[in-house]
Structure formats: structure tokens, C-alpha cells
């Protein structure tokens, strides 16, 4: 059991526990905090995969900004605990095992299909190469995403404004 394997198992367990907690919790704030835990665990996994820049970006943008936006909206709308459902009992007794079966089938197929893959060594100065790729080969999508964010900003402002 190498150190890498041990760290991977711990982080994977934390991620899965966070995801299950997201589904099981009834208050949206607790679900949001579980999702932040999942994202932090994923950032740790990215660090394990030698993708340092992506790990830092995941924490800064995803866990540090997008999830804060979620938490702001939950606080603003004063979301409370979920009400009791009026889903029929048959649906839940049949649906949950079927969903678990779907999950296991998906995981099994993916594991089988990616079994022959082996990790290649990461090049030195990966951040520099990543930025060169981003600004040379992918410059057009990069500019498009900046326009996309501008559209998103304007759209969110217009949507959430109160009619004066």
C-alpha cells in the first residue's frame, strides 16, 4: 500500500461520503457544505494527478466563488428544510434500488473500459505549457468564454432585479 494509494483512498472516500451526504441531507445549506467538501476532495485528487493549476483553479473558482454564490442564494431565499414528499411508496421502494443498480453498472462498465490505461509522466513546467496551449491553440474558445461570462453576468443582473 503505497502512500499515493492511501491518499487516493482517503480522498475518494471523502468525495463519495460528501456526495451521499448531499443527497441525504434535508436542508440545502448542509447539501451545499457537502458539495464544498466534495470539491475540496476533488482538488486533492487533482493534486495527486499532478494537475496543480487545475486544483488551484478548482478551489478558487468552484469552491470559493460558485459555491459561495449558491450559499448566498440559499440565505437570500431563506430556504428551509425540505417538506415531506408525496411520492408513492412503491416508487421509492422500486426506484432507489434501480438507481443504485444504474450507478453500479455505470461504474463497472467504466472500470472495465479504462482498465488498460496507464499514467504517463507529466512534463516539467506543466503550468507554462498549459497556458501556452490555452492562449495559442485555444485562444478563440478562450475569448468566447469571456463573452459568455459577460452574457451570464448581464443575464443574471436582469433576471434578479426587482421591478421598480
Amino acid at each position: 500500500m503505497t502512500a499515493q494509494m492511501a491518499i487516493f483512498l482517503v480522498l475518494a472516500a471523502v468525495a463519495i461520503a460528501g456526495a451521499i451526504n448531499l443527497i441525504l441531507q434535508r436542508h440545502p445549506i448542509h447539501s451545499a457544505l457537502s458539495l464544498v467538501v466534495v470539491m475540496a476532495a476533488l482538488a486533492g485528487l487533482y493534486l495527486l494527478l499532478d494537475a496543480e493549476f487545475v486544483a488551484a483553479i478548482q478551489i478558487i473558482v468552484y469552491a470559493g466563488a460558485i459555491m459561495v454564490l449558491f450559499i448566498f442564494v440559499i440565505m437570500l431565499l431563506n430556504a428551509g428544510v425540505e417538506e415531506r414528499t408525496n411520492m408513492s411508496h412503491i416508487a421509492s421502494y422500486a426506484g432507489i434500488p434501480l438507481a443504485a443498480l444504474l450507478l453500479l453498472e455505470l461504474a463497472y462498465r467504466v472500470a472495465r473500459a479504462s482498465a488498460p490505461l496507464v499514467a504517463q509522466p507529466t512534463p516539467e513546467g506543466a503550468t507554462r505549457q498549459l497556458s501556452l496551449l490555452l492562449f495559442r491553440n485555444f485562444a478563440f474558445p478562450f475569448e468566447l468564454t469571456s463573452i459568455l461570462i459577460l452574457i451570464g453576468m448581464v443575464g443574471a443582473l436582469v433576471l434578479a432585479k426587482r421591478d421598480e
Binding site: 445549506i29 448542509h30 457544505l33 496543480e52 488551484a56 483553479i57 478551489i59 466563488a65 448566498f72 440565505m75
Partner: protein, 407 residues
């Protein structure tokens, strides 16, 4: 356990470094409070704490005891888990960033292993520090919400909105330094500031020959003061507004955790300012043989402080002071002697200059707090978005033009 350490000796070494750094950090957090109260008092023409121990030096201990012994009530409608989580999150995240700060260039031997003076030398160290500080918003927002108190919620939302807005300017103001250094690694950023222009002006990023990062430093310092919720940007947590904001409903130890988290964030920001703009551990004197006497400056500093403390202490008012102050003076003199030994003198150079710079930045922090009036909240947000962000973008453009022209 022993074979785990035998297989990965870096674990034991890191543990020792973490323990030492944690002890030093927590002590300096406590004495930061004392320092601020003393400086504030002298700015306001009074003395500050001077009863509890000589010169009030035992005041942090008294405060700590008080915090531990006070009653710790939890509001009735509060969400228990989140209410306990918020101060813990704030403090632990603020303390974690110190693990990435390099204190010196040399390597020291612990348990037979040569190890640098930094706990984690990550290649994207600067980015990880910003990532951890951006998670600090959660502590504030969750504290405000979970207190089940309208004023806390408003204060928490305002505080966290302010922190997010100034985080952008904080990160962008550092891009100029990154352009000059070409790397995110903090040790390499300091090494890129080595050397002297015209043989006497240090090539720190503040006075860089390519483009002096004065605008960058100004934006960084303003954004940092706003990010740590200090005056003049502390409307969301000031005592006279919103009943102390997001930490209204917190008492005793949880409030102390918020307090310590704020000071730890201040120390982190000051360390970063020293590394990014003031040359980190580099000495302001050229490293030529003519200036070899500057290697004895740490010794001289500690010796002077020790002798002054001894002379002042033997004539102090209280009996306790007459014993304790000269004792500390003698300890400082012994430290000065140790710093002049040939094995220690090279190792102590880097951390000495680094800590001096951090101390000066912290002093300016406290000075600014007790001199300037407070901004109103809408003025605060307007400055963050309409003034600082365009200034940082201008800094990025100018620096990149200067870097290209310099090549």
C-alpha cells in the same frame, strides 16, 4: 509508526517544522493583540495595558484565560453544526496558509535530513495561498447565517460580499509581480529579486528596474486591508455598526477563534507582501565583502534590545518587572551571542530580514487602522469594483508592456 517514519523521513521532518511554526505562530497571534493595543494607545496619547505584568506583557495570557473560562451560550434557533463549524473554519484556514511561506533560502538539518525553511514548497504556491484565503469567505457567511439573528445575517452577507469583491483586486494586483518573476513558486519569486541595480539599490519588486511595482503594492495593500475586514474597510464588523456584525452571537472561545483568524490572515498577508514586493528574505545591503559587517546586524539588534531591556528593567516600578524584564534582556543577549556563532550566522540572516519586513508591514497595518476613518458600505463596494479593479488591470497592462520592452 516508526517504520512509517523510517520509510518516509520527510513526514517526521515536516512534523517538527509544523510543530515549531505552529507554536511560534500562535504565540505571535497572542502578542499581535498586545502590540496592536499598545500602538493604538500611543497613537491616542495614552499608555494601553500596563498593569497585567510588566508593560502589560501578560495581557494576552489574561485574555486567553478569560476566553477559556467564559460561558459559551448557543442561540436557541441556531443551526448547531454550522454554528460550531464557522469559527473553526476561519481559524484553521487562516493558519494553514503559513505552511506555504518560505522563511529563508538556506537548508537546515533536522534528524539528519537537509530541509529548506518552508513546510510545503509547492510549484503553484502563490495560487494555493489565494485559494485558501478565498475559502475564508465561508467562515464569515456561515457565521452570520447560523446565528439566527437578523443583524448577524446582514453583517455576514455584507462582510462576505466585501471579501469576494476585494479578492479579485488582490489576485490581479499580484499579476505584475508574476510577470516579472515568471513563476508561481514563492521561493523562486524571492530569488528573482536578487541582485542590485547600480550597485546599491536592491532589485526588490517595489523598485524593480523593469517597472517599479508601486501601483501594484498600493492596490495589493488596499485590497488586503479590505479582505481582512480591517479599518478603514470594517463597516460590517465594527462595534458601532450592526452590533458587531457576524460575530455578535459568539462568546468566549469561539469569538477568540474569529479574532485569532483575523490576525492570522493579517500575518499571512504581511508575509506575502514582504515576499512579493519587498524581496522576502533578501538583505537590503549588497552581498559584497565590503558589506560583510551587515552579517552581524541580527546580533547587534538582539544585543541592543537585550541591553536596553536590562537597563530599563532594573529600574522598573513593580518587583515582578524588576525580575522578569532583565531576565528577558539576558535571554536576548544570549540569543545575540548564538546568532554570531559561525554555524548559525548564515542561517539566521534570511529569517531575520524577512521577519523585520513582516513586522514593518504589520505596524503599517495597525497604524492605518487607528488613523483613518471608516468607509461607508456603498463607498467601499464602489472602490472595490470601480477603482481598484481598473487600477490593477492598468498595472497588468503596464507591467506586460515593460517586460516586453525590456527583453
Amino acid at each position: 509508526m516508526n517504520e512509517l517514519f523510517a520509510r518516509y523521513p520527510i513526514l517526521l521532518v515536516s512534523l517538527v517544522k509544523v510543530a515549531v511554526l505552529l507554536f511560534v505562530l500562535l504565540t505571535s497571534l497572542a502578542y499581535m493583540v498586545w502590540f496592536e493595543r499598545k500602538v493604538a494607545a500611543h497613537i491616542q496619547s495614552r499608555i494601553g495595558p500596563y498593569r497585567v505584568g510588566p508593560h502589560g506583557l501578560l495581557q494576552p495570557a489574561a485574555d486567553g484565560l478569560k476566553f477559556l473560562m467564559k460561558e459559551d451560550p448557543t442561540p436557541e434557533g441556531a443551526d448547531r453544526f454550522v454554528y460550531s463549524l464557522a469559527p473553526f473554519l476561519t481559524l484553521s484556514l487562516a493558519i494553514t496558509t503559513i505552511a506555504l511561506i518560505p522563511f529563508g533560502p538556506s537548508t537546515i538539518r533536522i534528524f539528519g535530513q537537509d530541509t529548506p525553511l518552508v513546510i510545503a514548497n509547492v510549484n503553484v504556491g502563490l495560487l494555493i495561498i489565494f485559494a485558501i484565503t478565498s475559502m475564508g469567505v465561508y467562515g464569515v457567511a456561515l457565521a452570520g447565517w447560523s446565528s439566527d439573528n437578523k443583524y448577524s445575517l446582514l453583517g455576514g452577507l455584507r462582510s462576505s460580499a466585501q471579501m469576494i469583491s476585494y479578492e479579485l483586486s488582490l489576485t490581479m494586483s499580484v499579476v505584475g509581480v508574476l510577470l516579472l518573476a515568471g513563476t508561481f513558486n514563492l521561493s523562486d519569486i524571492v530569488r528573482a529579486q536578487d541582485g542590485f541595480s547600480w550597485h546599491f539599490l536592491p532589485r526588490w519588486n517595489l523598485l524593480s528596474p523593469t517597472l517599479p511595482q508601486l501601483l501594484g503594492f498600493f492596490c495589493y495593500f488596499t485590497a488586503a486591508v479590505a479582505e481582512t475586514n480591517r479599518l478603514p474597510f470594517d463597516l460590517a464588523e465594527a462595534e458601532s455598526e450592526l452590533v458587531a456584525g457576524y460575530h455578535t452571537e459568539y462568546a468566549s472561545f469561539r469569538f477568540a477563534m474569529f479574532f485569532m483568524g483575523e490576525y492570522a490572515a493579517m500575518i499571512t498577508v504581511a508575509c506575502l507582501a514582504a515576499i512579493l514586493f519587498f524581496g522576502g528574505w533578501l538583505s537590503p545591503f549588497p552581498q559584497v565583502p565590503a558589506f560583510a559587517w551587515t552579517h552581524y546586524l541580527p546580533t547587534a539588534f538582539f544585543a541592543a534590545a537585550g541591553i536596553a531591556l536590562v537597563i530599563h528593567g532594573v529600574r522598573y516600578i513593580t518587583a515582578l518587572g524588576r525580575v522578569v524584564l532583565p531576565a528577558w534582556g539576558l535571554v536576548l543577549c544570549a540569543l545575540a551571542f548564538i546568532c554570531s556563532r559561525p554555524g548559525v550566522i548564515e542561517v539566521v540572516q534570511g529569517p531575520f530580514w524577512f521577519l523585520m519586513k513582516v513586522f514593518i508591514v504589520l505596524f503599517v497595518y495597525v497604524w492605518v487602522r487607528w488613523t483613518l476613518p471608516r468607509f461607508r458600505y456603498d463607498q467601499l463596494m464602489a472602490i472595490g469594483w470601480k477603482v481598484l479593479l481598473p487600477l490593477t488591470l492598468l498595472n497588468v497592462v503596464l507591467t506586460s508592456l515593460a517586460v516586453v520592452a525590456h527583453k
